[in-house]
């Protein structure tokens, strides 16, 4: 489910079935890495959309968590997010990002960090793009089903 009215309505009727939250973590910056961060956002956006489509009934894809790159308060804000989600019966919380700086802070988080090296899809052919994304999505899908089976 996504953060749109129709899906929220569905969620409110079936919350007990929706136990997995996805929060994309997207940095914004204005330096040399500005463009790189933008393509990260594109890549993560496509990936999480596909994931949500496959697992619509069990996953809630929340709006992006956007922060200024390198800003130290981000972890605090994210923890607040996390606590709210865990409070709201989300058993599994996944953060999807290409920003490697979260890897050092993974320990402070209860949720799972899915760090994916960003691929720039900009210069790729349609066909190539699709197959690369499909590949990544497949891997993520099995990761989710494995997690669920641990329950």
């Amino acid at each position: 489910m996504r953060w749109v009215a129709a899906d929220v309505e569905m969620y409110q009727k079936a919350a007990e079935y929706v136990d997995t939250a996805i929060v994309p973590l997207l940095p914004v910056s204005f330096g040399d890495d500005m463009k790189q961060n933008a393509s990260m956002a594109e890549f993560i956006g496509i990936l999480t959309t596909q994931l949500e489509k496959q697992f619509k009934g069990r996953i809630f894809l929340f709006p992006d968590f956007v922060y200024i790159k390198g800003h130290e308060a981000s972890i605090k804000a994210l923890k607040e997010w996390e606590n709210t989600l865990l409070d709201k019966q989300f058993k599994h919380v996944f953060y999807v990002t290409s920003d490697s700086s979260w890897r050092q802070q993974e320990k402070e988080l209860t949720g799972n960090l899915l760090w994916l090296p960003s691929l720039s899809l900009e210069h790729m052919q349609e066909q190539q793009k699709v197959s690369i994304v499909e590949d990544q999505v497949k891997q993520l899908l099995s990761l989710f089903t494995e997690k669920w089976q641990e329950d």
Binding site: M10, V18, Q54, F55, K56, G57, R58
Partner: protein, 168 residues
């Protein structure tokens, strides 16, 4: 310079009628359009979408077929991908099932649950469907998988809009 001076009252009158009229038109136009549109649009149903699957390649084993179509949604026009599970049933008829689980909308897979071979399986809450799409009682889904109407054209499979069926 015009000799005709516009009084304050007249000025207000003109502008208000002008603005009011404009607003009314703004509100009415879409309403009129809503009322008239269905007539203008013509028949839209019965649109079949081409799939890359050759009729000759359809077997008794369900196979996944992706097809793309454009979807218009108010502001956006997007290229969407649809999926169907296609096979021939015992009677030799072509069946194309929607992969969208009737419980909460996850995508079902064919024959992926080892404990329940030759069934459609939903990984989200372990919903099960028979090969013909009928939901298995005792699993979360309460209705069978939707069915696409199918058509053959130039040797390829075409599908229409998926339709719901009555449940088990």
């Amino acid at each position: 310079m015009s000799k005709h001076r516009v009084s304050r009252r007249q000025f207000l009158n003109y502008t208000l009628t002008g603005v009011g009229g404009f607003m009314a038109a703004g509100m009415l136009m879409p309403m009129v359009r809503f009322a008239v549109d269905p007539v203008l649009k013509g028949e839209d149903a019965g649109d079949f979408i081409a799939t890359p699957l050759k009729i000759a390649d359809i077997t008794n084993e369900p196979q996944k077929v992706n097809f793309s179509f454009t979807q218009k949604d108010a502001w956006y026009e997007s290229e969407e991908t649809g999926t169907a599970w296609v096979f021939k049933n015992e009677g030799g008829e072509i069946v194309a099932l929607s992969p969208v689980c009737k419980h909460l909308g996850c995508v079902v897979d064919w024959n992926t649950d080892k404990k329940n071979p030759n069934m459609f399986f939903c990984p989200c809450h372990y919903g099960l469907y028979e090969k013909d799409g009928m939901n298995v009682k005792g699993t979360p889904p309460l209705a069978p998988l939707d069915v696409y109407p199918t058509k053959e054209k130039d040797g390829f499979l075409y599908v229409g809009k998926a339709e719901p069926r009555k449940g088990a």
